[in-house]
Symmetry: C2
Subunit: 307 residues, 2 copies
């Protein structure tokens, strides 16, 4: 019944046209877990931090129903750190600094309690580590979702390619879909990528929404038009968390339910960008989530009867 | 009951990554009229060409139900000519040549028969000419739709600004919305532009769809994900034609019907880009249009019941 989430738990330092932060809590698994916690309360985290990681951040995750038994705390070591600066259009960013720290030697341990997980979210990490997680699960989960990025396409393409054969859903952005497929048209790219293994492909287009493909169908979810995008960091992970959290709560992996999950994921991403880091998605309530989903319904709903 | 369409009837020479054309028939009013002709058969055209314009192209328009009484044919003069080259991403283009020819002295004449028009589409032209058309109509139409472009914002902003107070719907692209409003966020841009006069604003985002705003509501229509975009020329005009044609056929200017009209407009734009020039939108049938609209419904339709 449970959801297993693997990914980074990290420090970020972020600069946007709206301001900058010191080291704040971030990381793919943090955003995924928090976002999923609005839909399901049986979330198991596998990740690693150093002893510099604040215990109150771990408490905050526990309070949102995230089991942190699989979060390794390495004494005498430092937490993964990333800092970046967004350009004025908020669609592109420069990485200012990356300190792998504990991530350099991350050896994911799956606690026995986690072994019965039905849903697995492989957050962005080295494909070799994502492979290890799959190797260490005794039973294959009902649905495996993989997030990755261009960096791994550049330096670990063979591991990534073999990983694609082991997952059900791949989530990447439009540029990554073009890089992975060698096709500019996203329709052509989707067909090539689906032929590499995954049954479903989600192409995230940032402020331009997201596309869900299987071999025969396509679904498009818009992004909510926002007055301001304050900080895009973690938007993709918040999307993934809402997506897999909704699926874990409904236990339905039909295309129609995946469409709904894409809408819930888009809603969570739209919250995430409203404040720095995880601030917005750690302090929501279900009324706010429902109201946001209602906005998505109103945004695209129309009524045409063809005779 | 009728629809009045003003705009250019022209020659285009187009170069895309897929090929290039010699002089072919184009122009805003040509695309608008042809696209609208799938929805309404009472279309009145006001435009100007030279005596080099082929009579069979005029026949083709007549055969699609377009009244060309208001199309001036200037003896001894040449038709407006534009040539352009699209970049590889198809989202940007360079103008290679513009010959105004007959357009330089265009003085729009409204035949008496056209005076009772209920719906007016002001295709992209100098704002001073668009003003003249409104001045020369005895009664204000029920709905006036204005299309314009960045060029007029650069060289004729005062005329354009006063024109905005006389129209109901403005259609522009995202970059133009940003230029006109001075706001990067399209939500903020929309509110500033609506305060300039129009009741409705449509922001066209090319392959990323279109947004319809009024002061309180927003609607988003996706673009259809296509394997290839063959030639984007006329996509915006085909959109406008489908939009105003659908409204003219239904005579309903509620926000809900404008949403439907945006979907029909998007469907017509998706046809337009599949072949060079007007080739695709002059040879459709209503079954094809309905099937395309069905694809839009399937693309965005989802079913979420919030308790």
């Amino acid at each position: 019944m449970s959801l297993l989430v693997i990914g980074t738990v990290a420090f970020d330092a972020i600069e946007t046209p709206f301001g900058k932060t010191d080291k704040i809590v971030g990381g793919a698994a943090t955003f995924i877990g928090l976002s999923a916690s609005y839909f399901t309360h049986d979330i198991n985290l596998v990740s690693v931090v150093g002893d510099d990681f604040p215990s109150d951040a771990i408490e905050m995750m526990k309070n949102r129903g995230i089991n942190t038994e699989g979060l390794q705390i390495k004494q005498g070591e430092k937490t993964f750190f990333w800092s970046g600066k967004y350009h004025n259009d908020m669609n592109s960013r420069d990485t200012l600094e990356t300190q792998l720290n504990v991530l350099a030697t991350f050896d994911p341990t799956i606690p026995e309690k986690y072994q019965d997980c039905e849903f697995l979210m492989l957050g962005n990490l080295a494909p070799s580590v994502q492979h290890q997680v799959l190797d260490r699960l005794k039973n294959r989960p009902k649905l495996v979702v993989l997030d990755t990025m261009n960096f791994w396409m550049d330096i670990a393409l063979p591991e990534l390619t073999s990983l694609l054969k082991r997952v059900d859903v791949l989530t990447i952005n439009d540029e990554e879909a073009r890089q992975l497929s060698g096709e500019y048209s996203l329709v052509k790219a989707s067909q090539k990528i689906l032929a590499m293994g995954p049954k479903y492909l989600i192409i995230k287009k940032g402020e331009h929404g997201a596309l869900l493909f299987n071999k025969d169908q396509v679904f498009f979810a818009p992004a909510l038009p926002l007055e301001d995008v304050f900080d895009p960091t973690g938007a993709g992970d918040s999307f993934a968390g809402g997506f897999i959290g909704y699926i874990a709560s409904t236990k339905d992996i039909s295309f129609d339910n995946l469409k709904r999950a894409v809408i819930f994921g888009s809603a969570m991403a739209s919250f995430s960008v409203e404040k720095f880091g995880t601030e917005r998605i750690q302090n929501l309530n279900s009324k706010e989530v429902d109201a946001r989903v209602k906005q998505f319904i109103d945004l695209v709903q129309f009524d045409i009867s063809l005779v």
